[in-house]
Chain length 503, copies 4
């Protein structure tokens, strides 16, 4: 990585964008190789969303940076949480960035991976005498110093869902070590729907699920630069993605910001020892996944920030339409708010109820993190439905921006899409496009489907909620109250049965 | 209309498509005028969906045709319902066409408009001595004989929702008569999101809401050929619409079928007297809207046919993924089915519970029609969410068809998107694209948003349900049972109060 | 049975009540044997509810009676459905009786059992040459002639749910034949929560689930008089049941009507051959259960009638409270109505979509019957919640009727529970008690919990919906549309890919 | 109050119960005056629930006591929150007490009233120079020293809901000052459904809603002993309340604990100046209500503790029934847990996000407190439905405890209600009764209906959520992202429109 040799930290969004240039990545978009992703109009909005994380750190350092263990101010996305407050501040930052971008800003996976690995490497080392934790800290110090973007590569392509990694017809369907050398390991495989991978500087590869002892080759964690030889990126196609390529900017809805997910293929890519944080310790793969999801499932608080934008858009379009005071409109905005704040509240509750682990990092409450994410798999869909309800049918039948800007048909549209002389028709047009963008267009990918599957699909949360439910304790509570288990208080359970006579 | 002079009825889908050629319509798509919509790849799928209605009539005449009052077999979309069975058969045909096309086939508005006008013109004539009913029957005979497609143009652009037609800052925001001549009337205005308008032969213009006596100029119903001078069509932009223009057909999801909604602008368009079915009778505008929605809200049974496709796609992708036997997967398919069948059941219940009107046409039960439509505003969104759940995140991060077909990156994708040797990777690719198409792509427009707003937005149904709820009768039932209103039975309400002693 | 020797049919509610006297049943209520159930104030309301079915047949014979195959007018509860219309009329009668009684009127199990057995006995006879169908018809003729009440006894006590009948630790946990004689069989076991059993004249015993070939002794269907020697009835305790025993009638909520469910224990009870309709044909047990539930699950349309009463009560209490015009109050009444009508619509849709079986009886659509019942397991709970919302907290903190009638504290209550001079305080009191009765009191048993479990618990419907879902057909629909399966139309799927140039 | 002269603090549950004796309260239950409520079997369970708060303070002082501003350890129910941690600990204590009692322990209203008055009296004094805050602190010191139970009396009977206090037909329908004397004021009126009033030592009377300037006589806040002359208590009737009076204890479900709500009538009751904390400052009535509900709506975290018991009971009964391993059973327990933890999480989030007020007390976040309570109005009903689903129909058809204990019929029940030799039939019986108790019996009053209406009915939360939704800020976020409002970053929103050519 060209950038790796630089020693000046990235300080601004513009510097960040510059840092992505000239890396020679092998990126495919819509069937063609893209030589400079930074300038590709389809990719650019996703870069702006990441750049906004740098800008926020400048504008609001209390929110988006933190003081690390060595007393240095670092970007919060690179900070190891040393208190519940640190975790809550992650959530506050996530909500704020959701509000600023209306989409996915792509840095949470890396943040959550670093925090999860902090304790897991510590525990592997304790058990196995390995040097992973120190390596991780060294890596961390480097990326903090240079202020880099870290992507976390966890989700394998997985092949047949009913089979374990080693049982697949093709062993590469989960990323694995194909050979070891004196200097390190060589991995092969692919990670699916990798958020922000092309916009990152480093990737941390991690296993995606619990592993059996027989799956040792799959138990690999390591960091590698995004431009390491052998990596191919195939851009995920998003709904309405090519609108960014059209002349009129009006139809994108959110012209500036977007998300990014790509397939990352590792065709025999080398990782040196000093960047390896797990190798073969299959019994820690499950712990890593659980700790990572402990952080990452409550990181979906970001969607409450995106939800704020959607609620705002719904309120705004209702006002443009002349419907803002109807009681059912106000009630739907209340319902949207109620659902949206539930996401936020359950997320920060998980962070507040964190516990400290042996390495000194704090881990959010597992039950509440799963409860948060589980709401995220449901509520954005209902918010989207309600936003479309308030928008009116025009949200999906609006003529194109090219029509709106055309000399021939534009004036007709300005006449007939007007609602009131006080409302600029173009504003109404743009607001409808934003709602389309968030509910079925480009950012619906992140706001809806990625809310469903990111950090684990709904069933994954249900399994985790079942594990954390402590049903045996609850059964005992019920038995005690029902009079089945002995109550040890000295007080009799009820006074004598006959009804007292009053005189 | 060139076609109007032909006297041969349309018999096949291919003939139907031919009938649409060379009409010289003024159509704008993506900012450009389209000279032959039939050949435009973005429009063509919507034409195929209508063509399928002709093909179904050939393949299953019992289902998709009917015997009219004169003993002639006519397309069911042009048939006046003479029994509850006729209405139920409309629903069965709608479900079947939804199953065949996976989208909106665009002919229900016309069918429902003809049926609604049958009774309303009859009643206006009875009250006012007008000749509307006979005119309608004559028009009906002509379109039945030629087997034409009728579009119904109801929804005005509406301007400021808090104001009546005559109160808008621009009087043209509702379609109105701007002048009368000896031969007929001239109308001006625009109808928004007009389903299948360009694919129709005739349009029936109707008012969109109850009117005040002061709004007489807005009380106009008439039929006019789609190519009448003065009409402009501006194509509604759909999510992912331009995928139809791309070289690879893989990304459209549903390559053959699509919906169509456009803005129709009437710039002083003439309607002759013999095609006018209401003019100035403001007190019948509300009746027309209510009767039309009585038919149209239960016409949304079509969405249960589309839902069948989505359930099938979800079941199929789960199987491709190797997840078909997981208990949560099966349970989600059950939930989808339960919701989907509720749409169907409430719709046909409305049709079964129809009542005959004075003109001899049958009208579905108003309460149940509204209940049906109200479910349609909610359940497809939940079905879509569950389908995305079963599909996995790949439904929104899948690389493009061009990547899949590329020599460079295609083999990589075939390797890593494989699930099992028994599953063709391209089949999995196509099935994911179909689910994307139906849940956030092109046909999500019809399956979701149009389900929400078509035939009236949710609040419109709630108002109608409130009207039909007969709360006074229900309050009386409650009072009688609570012992407030006198019970006239001779039997005492309860035996004497003391508890009987048994010996 | 004393009454069996009478040959005059029962014509009125009063005659029905008389017919229940002096039968010497062995009935236990609250730990004591009750010698004349008819006069027991706790039982009496349930008898009134059945009596209302006789009264309705007098008042509205078109609704509550039918003409049987022999041209005789019989009570509809004893009628074999000879058309979809017959099934729909059952639903209409059920809704009406729900509206009249606000509770369970207890006759549907018998009606549905007779209809199910009509075809099942026919099919067993065809396969095995047995005489069951003729026996059933003879029994039917007798009960029609005397106009009797038939209870259906299906639900066994079931023991350990994870084990089959023959695997239980006690073989009697499912009703079974313990010995055969020349004249018939002797059965032992118990049927749980038997609706209206004590208020019936005859019981029809049936197996409760599919049986394995090894379970032949459990495959027994037969009719026996309610007062057959060896039967014990233990009354099910209902919430607030003893309020019927209190001096003040004000606290019962529904002073006149109630439901009845009891445990029926068969301690070696004899059934003669001529009343046996299945014996040992284990492979027909599953068919009987499925057919029975095909009728019975859509019989829960009765709950829409009960729901009408609850909606009326909610609307009435809102009016008494001075809150009837608040927009959220009206909206909640709409939501209640929407849910309630969905139960009705899905039920009658199942009846309308019936099919004729070999015996000549019509069977409702299985899918829709299950969809109906599945809604019934959810919606009454939401209606109850909304009714309590509209009632206000007083619905559960209201002082007793005795307080209200007391000289000392009554005037205080009349002063402080008044809402407006135009509202009688006692009316408000009674309406609150009715809502309490239906949402957590005596009739909540029937309206809520029995809605959940009667005719099969929710999971039973889900299994049946899965069976009827035809997923293979739906997968094929999806594959065809996705372009996976060949489309056999001659039409190309899309015109050539390049975008047409307009000039 | 006899007890007021004692100076020894209450230290144990037993001492607390003693403290309630011989107070000569005027209490009516079921139409009769009760001379010693402590010994009344219908009342006693509610006293035990309060006693448990004293016992918890002994067993877990860290949880249920706190150090006040003077460094004294006091019961947490009497503690003024001096940090977010204090508020969170209230929630933890509430959940624990819900788990211990399965019902309402009645002390939250007092706790929340004291905390709300701390800041409100401070602010009134600042504005008006009144001495309320010092009086409150003195009162607080006294009740802390003696360790007393405080009830908060807020909810007026309210008469016609469409009218303000001064507009009612009877001015006493809201509690008001009827005259002033040199020593204090005399109040008249009634407070409805007063939780734990008879089990308290002092009541704090407060207005129930915003007041107009004309309503000065209604703006009264003061503390008075429960046995003040002129007070009458009329016990609220609960579902199944008289089961506590029956010989068999088996049918109560929760034999030891219960809730209490009564109508409290003030028939010209005197409050001395030193116990008055607001008098006539109408503009602070709304502030008091909002602050009180800010605390009280998140106090409903207690219901997650009660929910724990219900989840435990559902898991236990499924196990007794032999159904614990069925996938749908496990999934329903997950759903119950997910909903229950949402209540907890939103509540503690409100506490964590507290802000400090001028008086030094901390106030929970208003939005999140309302979100918490709003979930409480919905989720317990769904938990109850699911618990009944898992329990099976027997939960409402179980014979009585007297039957179970009867020599005659008991053995029959023990035979037929058995599920497996390893399950004690009586345990199954008791567990079913507990579920009945919590879902439609005595504690359903608190768990369901009081969850709906306590601390404000659902619509009250929606109004408050609307107020806190900051829609203007959200509309601005949406406008910025849609490109309507100027974005001030120097970066262009998108690179030049044409698609870059890669070579």
């Amino acid at each position: 990585m060209r950038f790796v040799s630089d020693h000046e930290p990235i300080r601004t969004g513009a510097q960040y964008i510059d840092s992505l240039r000239n890396r020679g990545l092998r990126v495919f978009v819509l069937g063609e190789r893209v030589h400079e992703p930074v300038d590709h109009p389809l990719i650019r909005p996703s870069i702006h969303a990441v750049a906004e994380t740098y800008e926020l750190a400048r504008r609001e350092p209390e929110l988006a940076t933190a003081i690390n263990g060595e007393g240095q101010r670092v970007n919060r996305f690179l900070h190891i949480a040393r208190s519940p407050h640190d975790l809550v501040q992650q959530n506050e930052m996530q909500r704020k960035l959701g509000q600023r971008t209306g989409t996915c800003f792509q840095r949470c996976v890396g943040m959550d991976a670093l925090n999860a690995l902090h304790s897991v490497t510590h525990e592997i080392d304790l058990a196995h005498g390995t040097p992973y934790h120190a390596r991780l800290l060294e890596f961390l110090a480097m990326v903090q110093a240079r202020n880099l973007v870290i992507g976390g590569a966890m989700t394998d392509v997985k092949g047949d869902r009913s089979k374990a990694p080693g049982e697949q017809h093709d062993p590469d369907l989960f990323v694995r070590v194909v050979r070891e050398t004196d200097e390190g390991v060589v991995i092969r495989g692919a990670k699916a729907h990798q958020t922000g991978c092309i916009n990152s500087h480093w990737l941390i590869v991690m296993p995606t699920q619990r592993l059996r002892p027989a799956d040792a080759e799959y138990a690999i964690v390591g960091a590698l630069p995004v431009d390491a030889p052998g990596i191919t990126y195939v851009y995920g196609r998003q709904s309405c993605d090519t609108r960014s390529l059209e002349d009129s900017g009006l139809d994108t809805g959110n012209p500036r910001y977007g998300g990014q997910e790509a397939l990352v293929v590792f065709d025999d890519v080398f990782i040196p020892h000093e960047r390896i944080f797990m190798k073969g310790e299959t019994d820690y793969a499950g712990m890593l996944v659980e700790r990572f999801t402990g952080y990452h499932r409550r990181s979906y608080v970001c969607k409450s920030g995106v939800g704020d934008v959607l609620i705002g858009a719904a309120a705004q379009i209702a006002e443009y339409n002349g419907a803002a005071t109807a009681s059912h409109v106000r009630d739907k905005l209340v319902e949207m708010t109620h659902l949206n704040e539930t996401i936020y509240a359950t997320g920060i509750a998980a962070s507040h109820n964190a516990r400290e682990l042996g390495s000194g990092v704090w881990l959010p409450d597992d039950m509440l993190a799963n409860v948060c994410k589980h709401h995220v798999t449901r509520f954005p869909y209902e918010l989207a439905r309600l936003a479309q309800d308030l928008a009116g049918g025009l949200v999906v039948t609006l003529p194109s921006g090219a029509d709106f800007e055309s000399e021939e048909v534009g004036p007709i549209l300005r006449k007939y899409l007007a609602t009131s002389p006080t409302v600029d028709v173009e504003h109404r047009f743009r607001m409808l496009r934003l709602i389309e963008n968030m509910t079925m267009g480009r950012n619906a990918v992140g706001y809806l489907t990625e809310s469903l599957h990111g950090a684990g699909s709904p069933q994954a949360q249900r399994i985790q909620i079942a594990r954390a439910a402590k049903l045996d304790e609850k059964k005992a509570m019920a038995r005690r109250i029902a009079g089945i288990d002995e109550v040890r208080e000295d007080e009799p359970a009820r006074p004598k049965a006959q009804r007292p006579r009053e005189d």
